[in-house]
């Protein structure tokens, strides 16, 4: 039979298996190979909430979704067209993520009686044989057996043989999508450099998978080719949001010339930032795993008081604990960056699920009038630039900055055209100079941006006391004077607001500068909203998209930009937070589209909800127009 190839402009694959099946690695290797191939792509890993859920059970399933294409790819894909299921639990947990008519590549030995029982299929029922998958294209491959056969003459233990079965699947998929094995072979050689027999076995299995695709009748005519995407020229690497945050912090350390102190307490999904930074101590970074969230931020404030850039990280519940200390940093007017990798709340909520529901906490969530700056990255790679901006604003404006990432972009990855150090801007730090003889030092004296100097211990003549009590303007002495409290409250707010003079104006990401509909987003919904806006324009609608990085203060032109559109629609993964800020702070009429399921919007889902909202808005408008006749 002749084999022919089909060309596609996008494909979504989901690798699913038991936690011990190596699906994250398999997905990552396929991702790297596809990136090297020149595709645009986005990925989304999903881990079980339990650390070691029992093998073979549904809670133990780990999956990795990859969306790649020859066109612009901005999301990991709503649903996949190929599902790799290493066992019956993986199929059960992921079937609803597969398109009708999609392909299931099932490891048949993962559907034996034991596995079916563990996955809690009814006694005697096997989805591969009972006809329930009639709507799908099921390909059974006995991966376990084929892997064992491929390694029949090796001296490896059964366990090591078993562990290399993910390479068989990877090899098979490489054949299906006509990918080169080279990058994965290089990876295996490097990874198992000290155990060449393991490297050789994995490579053998990888090739066996490829050969199986090429020689087996089932796969004939199934080869799919996805051409290179037209991507801006440059050098790229893959990066997750948490890793990009780490690199952005290292870059801010370098570009400010300051040391960095990172105080943190482990919490999902922020811990990877602590792990990452703790590897880069040679860059002038000190990491500190504190006894609790409060100690983590307090130690960071102590470091900032001493002239180091203090940074602390957490997720929602931890940020709640940091609230009081954050208020102290507001009073002290010291630099401090607070990273919140948001997750579904309230309380412990759903730690491994994403949400954007800490925006109002970031902007308002402290006692007293306590203004901080708030920024949010829009994608994994954008974490680099946004955390760098957070550090710049904090250091140049002597103000705490809240950085709102989320679980979706923290763990997701995308190709990143990484910058050269020579392209990075400098961050200007202004320490208080040694005071002149007989001149009294005024710690709260401000420059034209309302920013005070950073007076650090060790400098003679600048001895001064600061604290959480309200302080007298300029001297910083404790003051209960009513007029002074008003003045200091105004100053702290105005100082925050003045940051707007030092950030870029808001631009439209895509679509016209004014028109019918403006979709307004922030944070991790970027890729989805961008794709939706693009597709709605293709449907002939006049839809633009603006994505806000600077959430407090807002860019100066925001109200003016919004007023150029008939409808402003704000989709968010929360119960309506940015939309409330827009209505309250900008007095703009905006429509909310919200979802709180711990999951990102799907493209189709969001498109249909926008259609519904517009239909309602338009019918309301029409009825309002008709109103005079009706009276």
């Amino acid at each position: 039979m002749t084999k022919h190839s089909e060309y596609r402009d996008e494909v979504t694959i989901r690798f699913a298996g038991d936690s011990g099946d190596g699906m994250q690695l398999t997905g990552t290797l396929f991702t790297n190979t596809s990136a090297l191939h020149g595709n645009d792509l986005r990925t989304l890993p999903e881990f079980p909430a339990e650390i070691r859920a029992p093998a073979g059970t549904v809670p133990g399933v780990s999956s990795f979704q990859l969306h790649f294409g020859s066109k612009e790819i901005m999301t990991p894909g709503d649903i996949c067209e190929v599902l790799v299921a290493m066992n019956s639990a993986a199929l059960k947990a992921n079937l609803d993520r597969l398109k009708r008519g999609g392909t299931i590549i099932a490891n048949s030995s993962g559907f034996d009686k034991k596995n079916l029982n563990l996955a809690k299929y009814p006694e005697g029922k096997n989805p591969l044989t009972d006809g329930s998958l009639a709507d799908y294209n099921v390909i059974e491959v006995d991966v376990t057996k084929l892997t064992k056969d491929a390694l029949a003459d090796s001296n490896l233990s059964n366990k090591d043989v078993e562990r290399s079965k993910n390479m068989f699947v990877l090899g098979l998929l490489y054949w299906m999508y006509d990918r080169s094995l080279e990058s994965t072979i290089n990876f295996l050689d490097k990874k198992f450099g000290k155990k060449p027999e393991i490297a050789a076995a994995n490579i053998k299995v990888l090739k066996a998978g490829w050969n199986y695709g090429e020689t087996t009748e089932t796969f004939a005519s199934r080869q799919v080719k996805v051409k290179q995407a037209s991507i801006a020229p440059g050098k790229y690497r893959n990066i997750t949001g948490n890793d990009a945050t780490v690199l952005g912090l290292v870059a801010a350390t370098k570009q400010s010339g300051l040391p960095l102190f990172f105080g943190s307490y482990p919490i999902t999904p922020a811990s990877d930032i602590l792990h990452g930074l703790s590897r880069h101590k040679n860059f002038g970074i000190t990491t500190f795993q504190a006894e609790d969230e409060i100690a983590a931020i307090s130690a960071s404030i102590g470091a900032s008081f001493g002239g180091t850039l203090g940074v602390t990280s957490s997720s929602g519940p931890g940020v709640a604990l940091k609230g009081e200390a954050l208020g102290l940093a507001v009073m002290l007017e010291l630099p401090l960056v607070v990273i919140n990798v948001q997750r579904a709340g309230p309380s412990t909520g759903m730690p491994t699920k994403t949400e954007q529901s800490d925006l109002l906490q970031a902007v308002y969530g402290r006692n007293g009038e306590s203004p901080v700056a708030v920024v949010a990255p829009k994608s994994p790679a954008d974490c680099f630039e946004t955390i760098f901006e957070a550090c710049r604003i904090s250091l140049e404006h002597m103000i705490p900055v809240m950085y709102l990432s989320d679980g979706y972009i923290a763990n997701g990855s995308e190709p990143w055209r990484y910058p050269q150090v020579s392209d990075l801007p400098d961050i200007a730090v202004k320490f208080a100079p040694k005071s002149k003889e007989d001149e009294k030092f005024l710690p709260y004296k401000r420059d034209e941006r309302l920013v005070r100097d950073w007076a650090v211990p060790g400098v003679p003549g600048l001895e001064h006391r600061v604290g959480g009590l309200e302080k007298q303007d300029e001297t910083g002495n404790v003051s209960y004077d009513p007029a002074n409290h008003q003045k200091m409250t105004d100053l702290r707010r105005n100082k925050r607001d003045k940051i707007a003079d030092f950030i870029p104006e808001q631009e439209v990401d895509s679509g016209n500068e004014q028109g019918d509909v403006l979709l307004v987003g922030w944070g991790g919904t970027y890729g989805t909203i961008r794709t939706v806006a693009h597709e709605l324009r293709q449907e002939g609608m006049d839809v633009s998209h603006a994505h806000i990085r600077y959430l407090s203060p807002f860019p100066k032109n925001l109200a003016k930009l919004f007023s150029g559109f008939k409808h402003v629609i704000v989709p968010e993964i929360n119960d309506g937070q940015l939309v409330r800020l827009i209505r309250a702070e900008l007095e703009i009429k905006a429509t909310a589209i919200n979802k709180v399921e711990g999951l990102p919007f799907g493209v189709e889902e969001l498109k249909s909800r926008i259609h519904n909202e517009l239909e309602m808005l338009n019918s309301k408008e029409n009825s309002e127009l008709e109103l005079p006749h009706g009276i």
Binding site: L247, A290, I294, A295, G302, S304, G306, P457
Partner: protein, 360 residues
């Protein structure tokens, strides 16, 4: 400062390029700020402030290199009255803030000022963790066995049964023994002093400063308004000789008006004995600051005369002082070792990462 940064350059430039500039001939008054002291008249805090200021010229540090950090409470006002760098922070967190400062600026002399509520209630966690890490700070715990600033509720060190604003029928909580807590957290320097013995207090402050590591000095401090006389047993001339014992390293445990009583160890059991023809000072427990077992025993001398038989005088002085690596030293050492091993950092290489591709 471990790394060559604009911070280290700024600080060194401000000292005309030398971190080893001569120490001026300070007197205590040089450490007094221009702020009016606002504690209640007669408060024990005045003496402590005076003794800390008096000790400052003797610690051998320029005043711009001294930082006082406090939490919340009456004692926490302390930094405002010191003409050094100071940070009056939030309730219970001074130890954590001091940790961040000391780790990044190990050359500074950092002092934590805290109270019984601040250290043992709301800040209990940071207190024990500072001690176990052994951060090189001086920790002065002003213990008045009451919440003063909030006007008279019982504190974690108030004796059980205390009648206070919040416990009109008597408190039910068992009281903390601060020195036992500190020893339990593996503190490396544990000492006690009192406001009413300024000379000894001054000595203890200097001893605390000398020690490398978290130097925990509990200071009995009289709250004249809400808990007056809480430590009367130890401070009144009448009862003091019988109810206190001053510890000195290498010396026998002797107390009493006529120095005629002592503590003897019967294997692991301490007992109060009268010195006479049969029992000489050589038979007594000889204080050894480095003996953690004995330090624990001493910290349990925590009862009152009403507890009846086996009553012990309250020990003052250094119960325990041993050397152990301090956290800030370890951090610096590790950072330097990593720098040496990994070499000059290359940010471009880090940004590039392990695997890249080029789009042309």
């Amino acid at each position: 400062m471990v790394f060559d940064t604009i911070l280290s350059k700024h600080v060194s430039d401000s000292k005309n390029g030398s971190l080893l500039e001569e120490i001026p001939n300070y007197v205590g008054k040089d450490f007094s700020s221009d702020q009016d002291v606002r504690w209640c008249p007669g408060c024990g805090d005045y003496t402590i402030l005076k003794q800390v200021q008096n000790a400052m010229p003797d610690i051998g540090v320029r005043k711009e290199d001294v930082v006082f950090i406090s939490g919340i409470g009456c004692a926490a006002r302390f930094p405002y009255y010191m003409d050094t760098y100071g940070l009056h922070s939030i309730h219970g967190r001074a130890a954590a803030i001091a940790t961040g400062l000391k780790v990044t600026r190990p050359e500074l002399s950092v002092w934590v000022i805290s109270g019984d509520g601040d250290s043992l209630s709301i800040g209990g966690n940071h207190f024990i963790h500072a001690l176990r890490r052994n951060v090189n700070v001086n920790y002065l715990l002003f213990n008045n066995e009451i919440y003063g600033l909030t006007k008279g509720q019982y504190s974690p060190t108030s004796p059980q049964g205390s009648t206070t604003k919040s416990t009109p029928f008597g408190s039910l909580d068992h009281a903390f023994n601060p020195l036992s807590v500190a020893l339990g957290a593996d503190g490396t320097f544990v000492a006690r002093a009192m406001d009413r013995d300024p000379k000894h207090l001054n000595e203890m402050i200097l001893r605390a400063n000398q020690h490398r590591g978290t130097s925990m000095l509990e200071i009995y401090q009289n709250c004249i308004v809400f808990n007056d006389g809480a430590f009367g047993l130890f401070t009144d001339k009448q009862s003091r000789p019988a109810e206190t014992i001053y510890l000195e390293h290498g010396k026998p445990l002797i107390f009493g008006k006529d120095k005629n009583r002592g503590i003897r160890l019967d294997s692991y059991k301490p007992e109060v004995v009268d010195l006479n023809d049969d029992i000489s000072p050589d038979d007594l427990w000889i204080h050894d600051e480095q003996d953690s077992y004995k330090a624990h025993l001493l910290s349990r001398f925590f009862d009152t005369p009403t507890s009846g038989e086996g009553h012990f005088p309250r020990p003052f002085g250094v119960l325990y002082a041993v050397e152990r690596d301090c956290y800030d030293d370890l951090v610096c050492k590790q950072n330097l070792a990593i720098l040496e091993k990994k070499g000059e950092p290359d940010l471009d290489a880090l940004l590039e990462g392990p695997e890249t591709w080029e789009v042309k």
